[in-house]
Symmetry: C2
């Protein structure tokens, strides 16, 4: 049973991983409907046919993209919980995850896909909705924790408050990117968090 590195989830080859990396960036910058197999192939100096070997169609590539993105996000949230104990710090770290994406001149992958939602293959639609639900669930838990220990203060339910934070951060990315102004995002993010950290 000498397993080398413990293949965490479905392991893909090196080429498949690089395809996902390039496609992910293209989708986050331009959108799922505005990138093509040709774009990815030319960046990697391979042919479109090779792409189809790794991902039969655009729908399958899209599913793989959102699945991997959601898994990574879940890992990041677990790391936040492991590394930080108090609710306010955890909220700060959560917002920082968004900021890191925007600094790269990208939109949140699932925020981008949310705008294209009616045009997506059904499996991608389901995965996008799940992403937001998972985020809200995690945030609601942190908010509940903070309310219980007195470090956070808010009137609506933790779930409703979580939804406001997710919406606010996604919207802040959406609006800040056309302005090319990361500070716009940071300002909104701190106001959102201040709404639950101050009495």
């Amino acid at each position: 049973m000498a397993s080398k590195v413990k293949a965490s989830q479905q392991d893909r080859g090196e080429t498949a991983t690089r395809i996902l990396d390039v496609a992910e960036r293209l989708v986050q910058v331009r959108g799922f409907n505005a990138f093509s197999y040709a774009d990815v192939a030319s960046e990697l100096n391979i042919t479109k046919a090779a792409l189809h070997y790794h991902f039969p169609g655009k729908a399958e590539l899209g599913q793989a993209l959102v699945t991997r993105y959601a898994a990574r996000f879940a890992e990041a949230l677990a790391a936040v919980e492991a590394g930080l104990d108090d609710a306010p710090s955890r909220l700060d770290a959560y917002a920082q995850l968004y900021l890191d994406v925007l600094r790269d001149e990208r939109m949140c992958l699932c925020g981008m896909l949310a705008s294209e939602y009616p045009t997506l293959p059904p499996p991608m639609q389901d995965a996008v909705v799940r992403f937001f639900e998972d985020n809200e669930t995690w945030l609601a838990r942190v908010l509940r924790q903070g309310k219980d220990d007195g470090t956070l203060h808010f009137a609506p339910s933790p779930t409703e408050t979580a939804r406001m934070i997710v919406s606010g951060l996604e919207g802040a990315m959406l609006v800040a990117r056309p302005h090319g102004d990361v500070a716009r995002f940071s300002s909104v993010a701190s106001q959102l968090l201040a709404g639950v950290t101050s009495a």
Copy 2:
């Protein structure tokens, strides 16, 4: 000088107006990159060639769309100011404008275009940025009014607070639409406004 109806801004023919109506809905639902001249033509039972007579290219059609949308929004904001005096009511009416769009299962036109920003023709990009700036300016003015007369309470500058409200409402639309859940939007909207109406 017997002008019939006072051609408010650039008047377009009846057909051109119907083209804009159909194209506007398609962009708000599917996005600028995911609708085609063929889509519009088939809905109106005309040919693509006829479309090109009214709007030479997709870029020009897109410009006309965002220009008209921004003008209508500005009219709506003026109507809000004319019809309501106090700042809290004006904020409520502002959020209601967004809700009306979402009820139609549409995204804000400029929110949709913001997600596609890097792929848009430059004139459309400029118009999208201007739309958000105009919204923020209007909101900041209302916020200042409310702060001065004691009906609103917030710590950051009116401009920064305005940006948080715009971002929050746009993000709430973005996230609510995939869930098919208008209540999600309303919940976030009232939380955002509660943040400035309660002490």
